[in-house]
């Protein structure tokens, strides 16, 4: 589904990604772990199309298309979804109206007929139940006055509404208590199918108890330095990242 080849990226002249290679196939869950500052969030941002970053080398193939050539909205319409580490509060813009507009543009892009008002509301009900998001929150301004847990649940709610091919969860577990974590993970798991894929970016292993990855990659200094299965995450949890650093620098 997505093939990242020798990806280099920098911000304000500072090199963050130094040659990432990664392939994710449909139906797979990949976890990207690593110490702070290793480039995890940068990778997520570059894939979503955040314009602050400059890609200096490499390519990203998304279902046969050049992902790096697309605007953020094109990537979203083609099926890339980024669950933000820090979801933005947008006063005055209702969650529902914005999602309705987003869905309409996605459907138009794909040449699918837009949902009727009734279908849309039915979908909102169904998907908000999935992450136990109060209907009232769905109607409020985007993320405004939401608790940390509500914001993250809102991200997964939006993901459920947009039904992406590739979901990138950027530190979705950070700042969540265990109940919220379970709800968020549960939502992600229910949305999983053999047609979509998930990249879970996280600092902590805890989330991976709930969203079980097929592969775990360790990012360090902007490169994937180790790849394993879910046991690697457990090892990292137990031993920290220092041994990885030592291994790389040795």
């Amino acid at each position: 589904m997505i093939k990242i080849n020798n990806l280099h990226a920098e911000i304000d002249g500072k090199k963050i990604l130094n040659g990432i290679n990664l392939e994710v196939k449909a139906g797979e869950v990949h976890a990207i772990m690593g110490p702070n500052g290793s480039g995890k969030s940068t990778l997520a941002s570059v894939l979503a199309g955040r314009e602050d970053y400059e890609v200096t080398e490499g390519s990203v193939d998304f279902d046969g298309e050049d992902l790096l050539d697309m605007d953020p909205e094109e990537r979203a319409r083609e099926g890339v979804f980024l669950a933000f580490q820090y979801p933005v509060e947008i006063p005055g813009v209702s969650n529902i109206n914005f999602l309705k507009a987003a869905l309409e543009e996605v459907h138009e892009h794909k040449g699918i007929a837009p949902l009727t008002a009734k279908e849309f509301l039915a979908k909102v009900r169904e998907k908000s139940a999935l992450v136990e998001l109060d209907n009232k929150l769905a109607n409020r301004s985007v993320n405004e006055g939401f608790s940390g847990g509500e914001k993250k649940r809102n991200e997964i709610f939006q993901m459920a509404m947009l039904e992406p091919k590739l979901s990138i969860l950027d530190e979705t577990d950070s700042g969540l208590d265990i109940d919220a974590l379970r709800i968020v993970a549960n939502g992600v798991n229910k949305l999983k199918s053999d047609k979509n894929a998930t990249i879970v970016v996280t600092h902590y292993q805890r989330l991976l108890d709930y969203i079980v990855p097929d592969y775990v990659h360790v990012l360090y200094n902007g490169r994937i330095v180790k790849t394993g299965n879910k046991d690697l995450a457990l090892e990292l949890e137990e031993k920290g990242y220092d041994w990885i650093k030592e291994e790389v620098e040795a």
Binding site: E51, P72, F84, V88, I90, G92, V93, A102, L103, L162
Partner: protein, 430 residues
């Protein structure tokens, strides 16, 4: 007024004379000042010692009227029939059309409700009801007004439906000198919507005076929509006098016009009054939109709240100057004032100055202004969900400005204003 006089004015004459002659010259083709109402005479007399404001006139520092006053304008004498432009969907209201400053049809029988009087102001015995810091344009209106609506609501009568006055301009180089008045007796209640529109693309000048007299415990709600073409200019003075326990609110939505200047003057002359001034202005290209306001708290225990939000695109300019006076004996006043602006282009500008002058010591007042650009992070967030950059910006700008119309209770009216704003956002070039 005579052309002979005009010809004798040479460039070597003293500046004062030259500017005086400008007002005469400007009004020389006006035709409606010929009946003998006292206020017309007073207006003409007062004008003789005045000049058009220049950049040295503090209140007009950022708003040059040259382009208006150098144009050769006439008033329309002919009466056009009604139209259907500008109607508000699903709003049950009394509709009145004014075309080129003249009322279309007979309005005297439009409202049959007891205690409500509606008439043509040109045919009523109008007096200059409210004193004000008259400027030249207010006096020109006083001397030469064509027509307008005079509404009177008797004691404890609540007007059963809003009145919607739709002003249409059509034809080149016409000035519409429009004068409206609403008088509410004690406990009276009314809502009036004024829409100013263009029926073609010609250059016109609307010069409007509104007087509102709000007696004890009365409640007046005004909505003003300025949606003319971008060749037409609009200068307006809204003067309101509030007595004790009364409520006055005005929403001004300005999206059209070449040069627009609104002067709101609210005298709060009684205890326990509520005053709400809200404004939304969105400009593009070379538009210039200037909102000035004065809320004068003369008596204690009142509340006023002013919220103006502007979005400037292209090479357009916004001006906000809001002044709140709290006089010496006006204790326990709660007065709030806020102006927020978004500049969408590098060439757009805003001059903003919220002012408080407080002479009482037991008050709660605040004022503030912010000017910024759209939040890039929010734009990215919306784009990351599939919205185009344009839709994302439109949504954010809309949310920003629409806060100023949230207070409008009638859904159909609020939706009408939202539509007007959305149409404007869709047309912005950025």
């Amino acid at each position: 007024m005579s052309l002979k006089k005009k010809a004798t004015i040479g460039l070597k004459k003293k500046l004062k004379h030259r500017i005086m002659a400008d007002i005469r010259e400007f009004t020389s083709n006006f035709i409606s000042g010929d009946n003998n109402l006292d206020i017309r005479k007073d207006g003409i007399a007062a004008l003789s010692s005045l000049a058009f404001p220049t950049r040295k006139t503090e209140a007009w520092k950022y708003t040059r009227v040259n382009k208006i006053v150098n144009a050769e304008l006439t008033q329309s004498s002919k009466l056009d029939e009604a139209s259907t432009i500008g109607q508000i969907q699903n709003l049950d209201c009394y509709e009145i059309y004014m075309i080129n400053g003249r009322i279309s049809g007979d309005i005297s029988k439009l409202i049959s409700q007891n205690g409500v009087t509606l008439e043509s102001i040109a045919q009523s015995k109008v007096t200059n009801a409210l004193p004000s810091n008259d400027n030249v344009f207010t006096l020109i209106n006083q001397a030469y007004f064509t027509d307008g609506i005079a509404l009177k609501v008797a004691k404890n009568v609540q007007l059963d439906k809003p009145i919607h006055v739709i002003h249409l301009g059509k034809g080149e180089s016409i000035t519409n000198q429009i004068r409206h008045r609403v008088e509410l007796e004690q406990g009276g209640q009314a809502q009036v919507i004024y829409s100013y529109l263009s029926d073609d693309n010609s250059m016109q000048f609307n010069n409007v005076v509104f007087e509102g007299l709000v007696a004890e415990n009365a409640s007046l709600t005004i909505v003003k929509i300025q949606d003319e073409n971008e060749n037409t200019s609009h200068i307006a003075k809204d003067r309101v006098d509030q007595k004790a326990d009364s409520r006055f609110s005005i929403n001004t939505v300005t999206v059209g016009g070449k040069l627009v200047r609104n002067d709101l003057e609210i005298d709060v002359n009684g205890k326990n009054c509520e005053t709400v001034l809200n404004g939304a202005f969105v400009s593009d290209n070379d538009q210039h939109i200037d909102n000035h306001s004065i809320v004068d708290h003369k008596i204690s225990d009142c509340y006023s709240n002013e919220l103006y939000k502007g979005v400037m695109a292209g090479k357009s300019t916004g001006v906000f100057n809001g002044k709140v006076f709290v006089r010496q004996d006006a204790q326990r006043i709660n007065a709030f004032q806020s102006n927020g602006n978004i500049l969408l282009s590098d060439n757009a500008s805003i001059y903003t100055k919220p002012e408080l002058e407080i002479y009482a010591d037991d008050v709660k007042c605040s004022h503030g202004t912010t000017t910024g650009q759209l939040d890039d992070e929010a734009v990215f967030y919306l784009r990351a969900r599939g919205l185009s950059e344009k839709s994302a910006k439109r949504l954010l700008v809309g949310a920003f400005v629409k806060e100023t119309i949230e207070n409008i209770e009638l859904d159909s009216l609020r939706e009408h204003l939202e539509d007007i704003l959305d149409r404007k956002f869709n047309s912005l070039n950025d």
